[in-house]
Symmetry: C2
Subunit: 203 residues, 2 copies
Amino acid sequence: MADAPPDKDDKTPRTARGERTRRALLSAAAQEFGEKGFHEGSISGITRRAGCALGSFYTYFASKDDIFRALVNDMSGQVRDYVSPRIAAARDGVEAERIGLLSFLEFARAHKEIYRIIDEAEFVDQAAYRAHYENTAARMTVRLSKAAERGEIAPDVEEVHAWAIMGMNVFLGLRYGVWDDSRPAEEIARIANTLIERGIGRR
Amino acid sequence: MADAPPDKDDKTPRTARGERTRRALLSAAAQEFGEKGFHEGSISGITRRAGCALGSFYTYFASKDDIFRALVNDMSGQVRDYVSPRIAAARDGVEAERIGLLSFLEFARAHKEIYRIIDEAEFVDQAAYRAHYENTAARMTVRLSKAAERGEIAPDVEEVHAWAIMGMNVFLGLRYGVWDDSRPAEEIARIANTLIERGIGRR
């Protein structure tokens, strides 16, 4: 689609001000859907929270489904953009996974609505739901493979390990990020990382 | 509540025939909600699938919410009843986790609607959703602690390990059980179990 002519239905903002309005609408949608869920949430609730007119909404989004899909993709990108640069600073492949979980826990604690939004996509927009997890797992598989090539982790890592580690992170984020954040994130990340590094088999 | 007098709203079946009808309604509800989701699913759709009258429905359930809650608890119990006896036959604590994942993958492949139902509880009945995962994690924590006491796994296992392993299993079940079951369940369980046993740190 990169070479396609501009779509007359294209709602991409063309100015910095437009981009700010679109972002304000996405933030408002995160609050609205995070609190009320997709079915109870409404476009008027979103524009009220964003402090903008209904007409502005339709400048950037075609419908409630459309902004929900955009929100899922946006939150998926926000997690990636928060976690990826932190992981890039890791010493090796095992530490990368500790930092990956630690920064994901930090993100989940600061954006507790993320679970409700991404999980509800399973029912509202299955393609966006699958894309979020498949893209995350694909990035992790590449990261693990490169660490294996550098000799930092076992040579036989593959997609199964990525899905396993992603699943760990998602459930630890739910339990120790969203439901109860009383234990230090560093402690949770360290314990899980020991499992990844050495397993729990008898030493 | 164990000592409370019988509740006149108690809808527990008193006969074997009543128990069969209740079970038929739960199976029909699993199909109905699994295909249509909670919002689109209906009581009349459930009774049609179960081949029973609307009056029978209200003999056993008070509402659509009520049968949904009962279904989540029932599916949670079905997984436990499928997995637990298989785990009990394991040689040690590490093998118990391999068999736990293997039997969960088998269950998910045979009951692909389980994810849609339990995941939708996050929106329809948050208490039932939390109970499912908290009960599962509590059982795993006890299992890991006993294996540690027997010296089969690391002595410092705790709740965090249970949530980590449960998260692995849930995501591996989604990816290799529900979305794509082309790889043998034994292979997935073996790879994940190596991660649990020895980790993926450089050997």
